[in-house]
């Protein structure tokens, strides 16, 4: 044994044990797995969520130094993006200005005109500020961020944003920083709102505070105007900034300001995803979904397909999450965009292993215990799984050595993902699979119990040939037994999904829960400052309130560490700026009660927080500077308080200001404005939701084939070479159905006939063989000509014609194994009629004591459903013969008619029928022969006709023969019993069906032509069927004729086809269907002769027609099987078969259809057109197609397969599938 084999065995054994373990303790293992998934995913909580805004980091101002590029060991809370200098430093000067005291003589414009005017002088101050010390002279020009052109697309912004110089933004930009323009502007608000539609608004951009906090409106109740001047610095110079701060504070002291000024906040921005990047991303995701869809669609033959598909997806997804989590835990923070590499990871890890496992487990024998099935399935696949895993690991290892950081990282992820995926497959998925299989078993068991409860165990008998036929398998109807729940499962997939969704309201619930969770998380982590926003809203209503004072909510990332501990301490260290204000001459007067209060609250400390988080990125993007994956540092704000006297306000008035109409609806308008944004957001969310649902719906419609079982859905017949899931090399559990091959014929089978218990077949060579339909044993061989006849001639010379019957039956009892039941009944008859045995047979045992004439004991039976407790006469006879020395007579055929010349066997058999134990064979010479099926003796021959018999119908005691010349001959089989006893084999069975008489050996059987309809049809009769006392003949002359069997009277001539008739179906319920070469199918009412419906279904001949109670099934030369509604004639669906599948059809039960194919038979579910199973008849699949197919009543089918016959019992797997 090589090392490889040893390894293989060990792996297989290990997997086997593992499978046993998983199937034995499903619940603990699933709990364990879930716990480990959660544990591994825990580190993910520290990763920022998608949808959150920029990340912040706060440092002190005093000891600030530009962070170095290299990561400096473990700096604790320092985030990894905090490296190198920032893009820019932002210094904001927050100005709050008010005209105080407020005078009733002032108009609304005065609220903001003069405060805004102050901006220009402040601007001058800032621009001209120079700090000089030992290290040189610095001004704003040297420190600020020099910008060049605006981005080409923004030409219209040129008027408001600075170009070619310092990036300094203030409200003054509206007037090009020129006081003269401001003073001469008649309507300030109009100028400001000119650019309003932009997002983020210019108002925000230039004022540096959200529009409604500026107070620049006619409805400003607080009468305080707020705006900022934003300086963007490229270098940080503490001394310059310090001197600027001191200077501004000196000029405009803020009396009650207690803002902290010792912290700078670094804000890191994520990469922004634009439309251009989104499209490839969306594409990859669509491909991913298609992949998942097509993969999970292959999961088959399990209880809950959806459940398993879900489990498979969960396995893959959670393995990915686990890998990300584990990588984060060990410090491998992902620098790759997770969303981008995610689809590729899924594709690399794949769903293949999961599918392979399912297939493997499903293809184990179903009668095993669940545990063993799982274990076997696992161990069967162990080698390939391990091999695949090793290969993938190797590939990833190679990828790792490309030494490209991005690829290395991807590989690292993939390795961890693969390992965790393997872990999950082995524990999670296997366990889920075992639960599923167990559920299936239970459902199966529940369903099967009632059917089997009443059945006695089958008798184990060694002498199968002599005993009564074995108890039939559970009647075919168990196959169709479907619980209502199961029926639901077999609905078309689309409907099932809709029902499922409707039943559980799953979509709504998932969306609701998802939204709630998402909103909750967002509120908790507060990416966009929702709480600040809300707080601000509240503070708006209560002007004195200071709700934001509790500190801003901790951020998800790193912010909380600093924010949490700081406020108190820093407040303590840094008390409010010195309460020794330099008295401002304007604000000297004691404020009257109407003085607008300028308050400084904590919300002003970091006023930029109230801005949109896209504020800074958009400002920089105007100059083609991206902040993606970079950070800016925001310096503590410089507060400036400006009090203006009413006099000053009046002085700066523009002549037009007073002409403005007074505010009419101040309150409502403001409310509407705030409300409007809310509504906009709501509408946007709604639209997005609707769009998402539509998108999903479209995706589903596109991905799922719309027509189930409609015309043309190809159910590829599977060949042996490429069984389902060919690339895994699995075959369905064919071991369940092993066709019984009946060999013996030397040439292809020509005719096939059966009456349920016996089976007669005739090959091209003319040899007729009779088989036991239950066991498949060959009972009789009737050669075409030769030895048989010579033997018979020899017998004729020995024994008289009168004795021949006895001889025949004697021989049949001993030498030929026959149908036990008919045999048992045959004996008593013979004994009674021929008490004096010829001397020739004195060596025969006396079987008289074995005669049991108490026939009442026999349960009523029919040849179709033989009694379960068979009358085991064969055993008795066998014993009697054992005691006696069995003779060896070969065959004792005897001609009953007076024909002296032996029939010529050179003529081949064209038609054959079997009833009771009589075989009617129609030969090409026009002869009709009646053979005893059991003995193989010729009982009767009729040579009235000369034209070849093309079709035969044998019903009751009448035989109808259709001849090549179009004539129809009616024969009556007369049985002359000496005692006039006509024994029926069993009591009448199904409804009105007359029993077939049993012809015992000594009856003199004669076959007399009662009537010959010479010109029944103009052209050769192609098909002949008889049922319910009617004989229906179809001919190439496009007509169908219906005859009464009793008096051979032609009842109707049915015209309607435009081609020769090729197929006819008639059953006990008097339903007549005919199909022709024109591809049309007609349904007729036999009682009235009227046409019920007429449909065209096939391109080419209709080759076969079968009806069930609800539908008509037709097959045609176009390899299409069409299923029609019987009452309406509407096509329900059609099945496209493979080419050359043959035309043979059979209906086993109401919902189970069997069709013959190339070397196989296929079982279909009639309700949905699903292929249930394909059974291969032989080893070689090609060449021989199944041309004839008979359904026996014991749920077995018999079909020809070249020179062999194949007996297929409908397997238990089908019950499972149903």
């Amino acid at each position: 044994m090589t090392l490889r084999e040893q390894l293989r065995e060990k792996i297989s054994a290990a997997f086997y044990r593992h499978g046993l373990l998983c199937a034995s303790y499903p619940v603990p293992i699933i709990l364990f797995t879930s716990a480990s998934i959660l544990t591994c995913c825990y580190p993910l909580l520290r990763l920022p969520l998608p949808g959150t805004g920029p990340v912040e980091f706060t440092t002190g101002v005093r000891d600030y130094s530009v962070p170095s590029h290299e990561p400096q060991g473990d700096l604790g809370e320092r985030p990894d993006w905090y490296r190198g200098p920032p893009v820019a430093y932002i210094q904001q000067v927050l100005v709050k200005a008010a005209v105080s005291p407020w005078d009733s003589s002032l108009v609304t414009v005065d609220v903001f005109r003069s405060p805004l005017g102050r901006a220009f002088s402040l601007l001058e101050e800032i621009r001209n500020h120079v700090h000089s010390d030992s290290s040189g002279v610095r001004s704003l020009e040297t420190l600020c961020l020099q910008v060049t052109d605006l981005f080409p697309g923004l030409r219209r912004m040129q008027s408001v944003l600075p170009e070619h110089g310092c990036l300094l933004v203030s409200p003054g930009n509206y007037w090009q920083n020129q006081r003269e323009l401001f003073d001469s502007d008649p309507d300030l608000l109009k100028t400001i709102q000119k650019h309003e539609p932009q997002r983020p608004a210019h108002l925000d951009l230039l004022f540096g505070v959200p529009g409604k906090y500026t107070g620049v409106s006619h409805y400003n109740k607080k009468k305080v105007v707020t705006y900022t001047m934003t300086l963007v610095l490229s270098r940080y110079d503490a001394r310059f900034l310090g001197s600027l701060r001191a200077r501004l504070k000196q000029l405009h002291p803020s009396a009650n300001c207690s803002l902290r000024d010792d912290h700078m906040v670094h804000v890191h921005f994520k990469e922004e995803i634009g439309i251009a990047e989104l499209i490839p991303l969306v594409t990859t995701y669509i491909i991913l979904f298609a992949y998942i869809y097509f993969s999970t669609r292959k999961i088959d033959m399990v209880k809950s397909k959806w459940g398993l598909a879900l489990a498979a997806v969960v396995t893959v997804l959670s393995s990915l999450l686990m890998s990300v989590g584990l990588c984060t835990l060990f410090g491998l923070t992902p620098t790759l965009n997770g969303g981008e590499i995610f689809p590729y990871l899924v594709v690399v890890i794949g769903l293949e292993n999961v599918l392979v496992l399912t297939k493997s487990v499903v293809s184990t024998p179903v009668d095993l215990e669940v545990k063993l099935r799982i274990a076997q399935g696992l161990s069967n696949e162990s080698w390939s799984i391990m091999k695949n895993m090793a290969t993938e690991l190797c590939i990833i290892l190679i990828g790792y050595f490309t030494l490209v950081p991005a690829i290395q990282e991807f590989c690292l992820f993939a390795v961890v993902g693969l390992v965790s995926d393997f872990f999950l497959q082995m524990f999670f998925f296997t366990t889920v699979l075992s639960i599923d299989i167990r559920r299936m078993e239970l459902a199966d068991l529940n369903r099967r119990l009632p059917a089997e409860a009443g059945l006695p165990p089958p008798k184990p008998g060694p002498l199968r040939t002599r005993e009564a036929p074995p108890p039939p398998r559970p009647s075919p109807h168990t196959i169709t037994l479907q619980t209502p729940a199961f029926r639901n499962l077999r609905l078309p997939k689309r409907l099932r999904v809709v029902y499922f969704l409707a039943r559980t309201r799953l979509a709504q619930r998932i969306i609701m829960v998802g939204t709630v969770i998402w909103i909750g998380i967002l509120v908790y982590t507060d990416p966009a400052g929702i709480r600040t926003y809300l707080a601000a809203q509240v503070s708006d209503q209560s002007p004195l309130g200071d709700p934001g004072g509790g500190g801003l909510p901790p951020h998800l990332g790193v912010a909380p560490v600093f924010r949490g501990g700081d406020p108190t301490s820093t407040l303590g260290i840094n008390p409010a700026p010195a309460p020794t204000p330099i008295p401002d001459n304007q604000s000297q007067e004691a404020p009257p009660p109407s003085v607008p209060q300028i308050t400084w609250g904590a919300e002003d400390e970091e006023g930029w927080r109230r801005l949109s988080f896209r504020h800074w990125p958009s400002l920089f993007s105007y100059y083609n500077i991206t902040l993606a994956k970079r950070y800016i540092s925001i310096l503590p704000v410089i507060p400036v308080t400006v009090h203006l006297s009413p006099q000053e306000a009046i002085e700066t008035r523009h002549p037009q200001d007073t002409k403005h109409p007074p505010p009419s609806i101040p309150k409502v308008a403001a409310d509407i404005q705030t409300d409007l944004t809310l509504y906009k957001v709501a509408a946007l969310g709604l639209a997005a939701g609707v769009l998402l649902v539509l998108l999903l719906f479209c995706l589903y419609r596109v991905l799922c084939p719309r027509n189930y079982g409609q015309n043309g859905v190809t159910h590829g017949r599977r060949r042996r070479g490429d069984l389902p899931c060919d690339d895994y090399g699995y075959s369905p559990p064919v071991s369940e159905i092993s066709p019984l091959l009946l060999r013996g014929h030397s040439m292809d089978i020509e005719c096939l006939a059966s009456d349920g218990m016996l089976l007669a077949s005739c090959c091209l060579a003319g040899q007729i063989r009779v088989w036991d339909a239950q066991t498949g044993d060959c009972l009789t061989v009737i050669p075409n000509h030769g030895g048989c006849w010579e033997q018979r001639d020899g017998w004729e010379s020995v024994s008289g014609a009168a004795e021949t019957e006895c001889l025949g039956s004697e021989a049949h009892g001993s030498s030929i194994s026959g149908d036990g039941l008919s045999e048992g009944e045959g004996y008593p008859l013979r004994r009674r009629t021929a008490p004096s045995r010829p001397t020739l047979f004195t060596d025969q045992p006396d079987l008289t004591p074995l005669i049991d004439t108490n026939f009442a004991d026999q349960p009523p039976s029919h040849l179709c459903t033989p009694p379960r407790e068979g009358f085991d006469f064969g055993g008795l006879v066998e014993r009697a013969y054992m005691e006696h020395e069995p003779p060896s007579p070969s065959a004792y055929p005897s001609p009953s008619s007076a024909s002296s010349s032996p029939p010529s066997g050179a003529h081949s058999v064209w038609a054959m029928e079997l009833r009771g134990n009589l075989i009617a064979a129609g030969r090409s010479s026009g002869k009709l022969e009646l053979w005893d099926a059991v003995e193989g003796s010729l009982r009767c021959i009729n040579e009235d006709g000369v034209s070849g018999i093309t079709a035969l119908a044998f019903l009751n005691n009448r035989i109808v023969a259709a001849r090549l010349n179009g004539s129809l001959d009616f024969f009556t089989v007369e049985i002359n019993k000496p005692l006039g006893l006509l024994q029926y084999r069993g009591a009448p069975g199904r409804g009105s069906m007359p029993p077939s008489p049993c012809y015992s050996s000594e009856d003199v059987i004669s076959c007399q032509l009662t009537r010959s309809v010479q010109c029944a049809h103009q052209k050769p009769i192609t098909v002949l069927r008889a049922a319910a006392g009617r004989v229906v003949a179809g001919s190439q002359d496009h007509t169908v004729r219906v005859y009464r069997l009793e008096d051979s009277c032609c009842l109707f001539t049915l015209q309607g086809h435009s081609g020769g008739i090729t197929a006819i179906y008639i059953d006990q319920t008097m339903v007549l269907a005919s199909g022709g070469q024109d591809g049309a199918i007609c349904l007729w009412d036999v009682l009235t002769g009227s046409r019920v419906s007429h449909v065209y279904g096939h391109r080419g001949d209709v080759t076969s027609l079968v009806c069930t109670t609800s539908c008509v099934i037709s097959s045609g030369l176009d390899d299409l099987i069409c299923i029609w509604d019987r009452s309406t004639g509407i096509k329900l669906y059609s099945i496209q078969q493979e080419v050359g599948c043959g035309a043979s059809l059979g209906v086993i039960s109401e919902s189970l259809l069997v069709t013959g194919g190339q070397g196989c038979v296929s079982f279909w579910d009639l309700n949905f057109g699903d292929l249930l199973q394909t059974v291969y008849l032989g080893q070689s699949s090609d060449g021989q197609g199944v041309r004839q197919l008979l359904v026996l009543d014991n749920a077995a089918i018999i079909c020809d397969f070249g020179s062999e016959l194949s007996l297929v019992y409908v397997p238990s797997v089908l019950e499972k599938l149903d």
Partner: protein, 216 residues
């Protein structure tokens, strides 16, 4: 990509219709992939088109998607054709999920070529070549597929060289005459992918022909 395959079987009654439908499907897949993948390249300024075109919605010249579509239709039809001529039908992993996987890997290769920062171009090209061959090994494994892929890739590379030489468009940092050295690998992977899709689509036609011959 290729989603429309199944329902379309109904109209695949005659052979030319079938061929046209397959061609149209492949064409649309090619156009779609060309648009998406070009977006990837344009984003990273790998290819440069004249500035007035870049503002257009497709972010590449108008002639690129139709060319790619036509090429993919030809390749997708050529593959099954060659298979049937050689008499060795492609049996390896013939199912849509595998095709989807193949397309995903192809997009991934493009993604890598556009977005991953490699140390030098040789490394990038070698990695992509290995990935492309891996793609062939994973999803195709037929000699005819490999041969066709290599020859079409070479032809396409030549054509691109000529195009760039004549100044129709250009690459930002050419390292293989006028183009990027990874271009042949991308072409090869694309040919394999389109061939895969084409073969899968041809499965439907194959069934149809069988049916037809039977009728005759």
């Amino acid at each position: 990509a290729g989603k429309g395959g199944e329902p379309l079987i109904y109209i695949m009654y005659n052979r030319t219709t079938n061929l046209l439908i397959r061609g149209a499907l492949l064409f649309s897949v090619g156009v779609f992939l060309a648009l998406v993948l070009n977006l990837l390249q344009v984003q990273r300024n790998v290819t440069l088109f004249p500035p007035d075109v870049i503002s257009s919605i497709f972010s590449s010249a108008w002639w690129v998607p139709p060319c790619c579509g036509t090429a993919s239709a030809m390749i997708g039809l050529l593959y099954p054709c060659i298979d049937s001529h050689l008499g060795e039908p492609h049996k390896f992993k013939r199912e849509w999920s595998s095709v989807m996987r193949c397309v995903a890997v192809f997009v991934g290769i493009n993604h890598a070529s556009a977005k991953v920062d490699f140390a030098n171009n040789v490394q990038l090209s070698l990695t992509l070549a290995a990935l492309s061959v891996g793609l062939w090994w994973t999803f195709d494994r037929s000699r005819s597929g490999f041969g066709l892929g290599v020859s079409i890739a070479l032809l396409a590379t030549l054509a691109t060289q000529l195009l760039v030489y004549n100044g129709v468009f250009q690459y930002t940092s050419p390292d293989f005459l006028y183009i990027r050295s990874w271009l042949p690998c991308i072409f090869f992977a694309g040919v394999i992918t389109m061939g895969n899709i084409g073969r899968q689509l041809a499965l439907y036609e194959y069934k149809f022909i069988q049916e037809k011959t039977h009728q005759d």
